[in-house]
Symmetry: C2
Subunit: 245 residues, 2 copies
DNA sequence: CGTGCCAGGTGCCAT
DNA sequence: ATGGCACTTGGCACG
């Protein structure tokens, strides 16, 4: 495809706020939070109307280069290439794509007002523990969940029958060393704020690494094997079907 | 576009290991590590020949749904839709796309053997501090960098002239509470392993949050303002913006 | 806006 | 495979 017609076609599609996909042989230069370069190769360039730009290799889940939304696109023809300069003033980033061959340009005015509904997050997990505290222990009364208390952000926070405070840190995957240090930080913060020495710390997760478990018990905390919920409730499923029509 | 021809075109492109881009009106259902659903809307579907599948909304950097590589794609025509089922046996995930309208299908045999070269990572930063330790202090002699010592992962590890051990934790962005707890964990590990009480802990970063700085000093550690190579410091960035006008 | 923290995180490299 | 951790992390919620 010739460079000038390609430039015109892209600029037209940009003007119409279309989403644009370009298959091309190009190199990419990036400068901003870091600096990068990738030499000539066949790639897919995606331009979204919010100013997001993605450059994808033929393989892999993650774009090899990208620019955040609200980026500005400028195109000009150089000797042997289409030079696409993407700048973002907010983040002080620049990405320059030099396309030496353009195989195809596709664009379309996509409209999508729907939002993803997701179940099985850590929030769902802490909600579950809040409403069914016996999953943690018969001797646990939750007080707050997923809240920014004055002691910090605590997943589930409550007390036992002796009145001792209990802090539960949820992880939806394997808990590692970082999870334990996080719990420790919360416990220390509460201890210091309240001027008390006895606070129970619990990690609730479907799994925990060996090192993390050792560090956990060394610090006098405990582990409870709990998996996050991951299914829509009956009501939500019904609602999903209704929304479709 | 009719459903049967669309199915044939996609299957042909899959057979040829092309990268495929489909603009369509579809809903998407996901089940695996969590569960999700998004109702009908215009989206871009990308199929890569390594089995990666991405579903993009017209906006945003992140795909609304996706499947990891080595996923298997099966397509069939239902009453009113093209049903694209993506399964990954390794991760036990399933994604089902129901396309009610197919606006366009584009495919191409992209070849890309190049790899991204990236500068300004945390590794580059620890390399810099290792080769130019005076950036930390005139009284600092590094011994190892980015190595799995028997004390754990330490970014830069060394000693001062009094023979006291020094641990430097690098961050290429603003250091937060987690950075401080990470440093503390490393310092404690070394102290315990060596049976010593005096270990210097230093955070090297271009910036540090107020809370993190307080926790850092509370724990007797210190902060050194250092930017990763190839990245402007906060002040330089500000200056750069001023110079633009 | 910065700060904190989850994510269906992803990717890389180590044991 | 599991684990420990950085990432141009991205994204959101809250002070």
């Amino acid at each position: 495809m010739e460079l000038y017609p390609a430039m015109d076609e892209i600029n037209n599609a940009l003007k119409k706020n279309h989403i644009i996909v370009i298959f091309s042989n190009c190199n990419v230069e990036y400068s901003g939070r870091a600096q990068s370069f990738i030499a000539k190769g066949d790639r897919m360039i995606i331009m979204k109307h919010d100013g997001t730009i993605l450059v994808h290799k033929p393989d892999g889940r993650t774009p090899v280069n990208w620019m955040p939304n609200k980026s500005i696109i400028e195109i000009k023809v150089e000797n042997d290439s289409l030079e696409i300069t993407c700048t973002n003033s907010k983040t002080s980033e620049v990405m320059i794509i030099r396309a030496f061959n353009i195989y195809s340009i596709t664009s379309a005015p996509l409209v999508d007002n729907e939002q993803l509904r997701l179940l099985g997050t850590e929030k769902d997990m802490s909600d579950m523990l809040y409403s069914t505290p016996s999953l943690i222990s018969e001797d646990f009364t939750p007080v707050s969940r997923e809240e920014q208390t004055k002691y910090g952000f605590l997943d589930v926070f409550g007390h036992n029958s002796k009145g001792e405070l209990v802090i539960v840190e949820c992880k939806r995957y394997t808990a590692g060393l970082d999870s334990v240090t996080q719990l420790r930080r919360y416990v220390e913060r509460v201890k210091k704020s309240k001027g008390i020495t006895k606070v129970q710390g619990i990690i609730a997760a479907p799994n925990i690494s060996q090192n993390a478990l050792k560090m956990l018990t060394d610090w006098g905390f405990s582990y409870k094997n709990i998996s996050p919920p991951y299914r829509f409730s009956k009501e939500e499923e019904k609602q999903a079907k209704i929304n479709e029509f």
